[in-house]
Symmetry: C3
Subunit: 366 residues, 3 copies
């Protein structure tokens, strides 16, 4: 089933590189493989921290709810271990009014802040405080999901009135979309003030399979991409902050048609915008090839951010970055053999694509 | 005019392979070629049945109106010839309310069933009977065209009331779209019950050229593709039947932007969905290369259906399948030389892509 | 910053080919390069006319407002110089009601025609006169920009009434879109009558960056592409004139998703339509490769128009055409080595792609 898929590539390479297994997975070999992997995972050199070191990971970022008290991050810090694991501020559950349990989430937000949130001003203040807390815990970035990257500023009165309706469980038809559109602009403003890098990844229709959602709940891998429009949707945010070099707004997409048409042209124009790596379904050899083909000519590599994987599969991290470096090297080599860049530039580009762009874009060593 | 086009490739290869002609078609050679082809076509070894055997065709499927009594299929069966030619149930003319002569088509449907169709329940029953008849005549699949793959369930009362309006020639503004959206769900339900594979090919703006339509009528090759959305449109159908393994819903597209964004992700997720081969304008070397590039990583080949051509040009059938096999082999070989699959897997994949996937998806030997 | 971008390629090749400079541009070399280029530009062999001859340019077309009296064109003609520089009729500023200063532009149009424009009929007449004037000055084509290629015919009364509202500064909500949609059909009608080739390049969201617009005004490079729909939008125009072989309507796009889905299929079907070369952001090696890949199979090269660059950078003209010829040769060679065309056809195709298609499509030597 995995022939020719990224999952197949990762699995084979993980087995070989991480577990030293060269037997091909099959019906016949499955029991042996299971036993061998289980045995190895119980050894100290296969503990998460040992693998973290073996994988040579500089920084690993989690994404955490705005209401999270980051206990595990504290535990790691206090354990004396020197692996760098930092949080990322992901406020979707308190920003998207149609998030399940939004009112409970607001109550949680008040609880973690130590005061009740009864109006929009307090709400904004609470978010700013939480960002400060995350930053203190090492965070360098925020992360925002939305079905469409629509941005539009509300007046203070409108924002307050939508917020009040939501607090009273009376979210109107357009309220949720308008509120998120406004909050993305607020978040850009906060990023300019506190320096956190802002990531936006729109275009995923969440919980598409109702049966799975009813039985197992949110975010169980039933998300299907939809068309995503950036040019018109982001204009209000960009007209306010797009020329501000203090802002880094990293755009992701599941709609590859936006690569050459919208993302590359926006990133080529606005100082604040950078394009994130090929994401999710496109974190693959062909996905990367299309990304290099369609993004780089117009955006230039210096408006992109190198590579970060987005995996829940710890052991696949080295393979995914290896795939990225091979895809990058293949693209750069193509430029060299056609004499479009010389070897000096190519070596710089490879170092940038492999390491420096990610470090710089996410302000990882500032 | 045909330089570098699929028509050019087919024509050259057909002349060479089928007619043994190696002269390049040109103004000078046209008369000689015409005479040579005419002479050959009159020979017994160039009769359709002789060519069918020479082309080594296992199964040829026609598409037939729901009201068709399949006389020609009966004639072939009764002739004692062992070539397998089977019908496909294509009910567009009785399902799409804006089909020209819909009311006459319903009258025909009643006539072929032997009772008058005066309400929605009888109409559904008639369709089920016709499907049973087609199945008895060898059909394994149905085929559905629509401008957009919108699905949405109507209440029984709504369905009946739209149907009554249509019977009385009073189709309202939204009626046709809502009725088709409902009927696609009904057709999926029937497929689960009778086992016929359901094919859906949306996104063709039919009869775009009004002059040609006025002068020559329907379906004269003036169809131009439009953008097609699957993620939101198919959700109602998929929430009802997408997890049901008894359903095989094969999706085609003329909008290649849906390959990596919607079709591959839907087929990767829902057990009922498979992706049909590159269709119509994309039944070409580049169209196939884009299909392999954009579909396979996320869907995996086992959620695709191999190849079926959709030609009215009998002699081009071997060439089209040859192009598919070459394009497949080129893609698989690319995986092998980059060590992404091994040779054992590659050989299995080639057999699957050439023969087995089509046979299995269309239940051709069950 | 320019590594791997078209700007980088053009810059390097321009320096080498035009200025004989082989030093790599860098912080260290910048002063020397500046001095060397400045010195060379002051020499007579680097004058625009000398470079025009050196670049071997057959025809250079400017684009000019409908109200332009083409003084510079007159001056060139009267100077006795034999370089061919011709105008192109671009009436956007008097056709798009939401163009800044539309009323002033109409007043200018009246002034240059010698009569006041107070109604739609006079307005149409004035446009016809201006086209005639441009034609007399050597123009062979018109050029039309719009955000969407929507076409729709208005009744005479509607056209007049929108025109009157606009003249009185009372443009209604839909007026501008409907007027442009009507005027595109009018322009096609005029093209049939006077033989000027009609170019349409939709899909650019102009002046996206409000800060730049406020500070520096119109058209300062802040244009971002948007999705563009051709199939439904162009149907009214095509149903009226698409089958008329006297019309040449050249379509450009910034939305590459339209290549295989809409442009190639429309151009393959309608005698009047041809597809322009990859434009603007897509005037690049990868942009051209995608164009060849996605357009040619369905449209055939004889429904395309070869290459015209769209540059404001005079010295980059030879490089841009060189890039096109290399990209063309690479594509054609790929067809040859795969035996899809033979060498005789390939040589014809190369001559067509390099020179003949552009000359023929734009009627440059009729």
């Amino acid at each position: 089933m995995f022939r020719g898929t990224p999952s197949g590539i990762w699995l084979n390479q993980d087995l070989h590189e991480v577990f030293g297994i060269n037997v091909k997975p099959s019906l016949e070999s499955s029991d042996t493989l299971f036993d061998e992997i289980s045995e190895k995972l119980s050894r100290p050199e296969f503990s998460p921290r040992a693998l973290f070191k073996k994988f040579n990971i500089s920084v690993l970022c989690t994404t955490d709810a705005a209401t999270d008290n980051l206990t595990h991050h504290k535990t790691i810090k206090e354990s004396g271990w020197d692996g760098r694991i930092i949080p990322t501020f992901r406020p979707d559950a308190v920003v998207n009014l149609d998030a399940p349990n939004w009112r409970n989430n607001i109550a949680d937000l008040g609880r973690v802040c130590g005061y009740e949130i009864t109006d929009f001003v307090t709400y904004i203040h609470a978010l700013e405080e939480r960002r400060e807390f995350f930053k203190g815990m090492g965070a360098t970035a925020t992360d925002h999901a939305c079905i469409t990257p629509k941005t539009a500023e509300l007046s203070k009165i409108e924002a307050e009135s939508i917020f009040q309706r939501a607090l009273h469980g009376q979210v109107g038809n357009e309220d949720s979309a308008r509120f998120t559109a406004h909050m993305l602009i607020e978040m850009a403003r906060m990023s300019i003030e506190d320096g956190l890098v802002m990531q936006l990844h729109p275009g995923s229709f969440r919980n598409h399979n109702d049966l799975v959602f009813q039985r197992f709940g949110l975010d169980k891998g039933c998300d299907i991409p939809v068309q995503t429009e950036y040019t018109r949707n982001l204009q209000p945010l960009l007209n306010k902050y797009g020329n501000d070099t203090r802002l880094t707004l990293i755009l992701f997409t599941l709609d590859e048609t936006s690569y050459s048409r919208e993302l590359a042209t926006l990133a080529g124009h606005y100082p604040a915008i950078k394009i994130g790596p090929p994401w999710w379904f496109h974190d693959s050899l062909n996905g990367m090839a299309r990304y290099f083909d369609q993004v780089m000519e117009t955006a230039g590599i210096y408006n992109t951010t190198g590579f970060n994987d987005d995996t829940r599969t710890f052991c696949s991290i080295p393979t995914r970055h290896d795939v990225w470096r091979r895809a990058s090297a293949n693209w750069v080599a193509g430029l060299v053999v056609r004499h479009l860049v010389d070897m000096d530039d190519a070596l710089e580009m490879m170092f940038d694509l492999s390491v420096r762009l990610a470090i710089r874009s996410y302000k990882l060593f500032e």
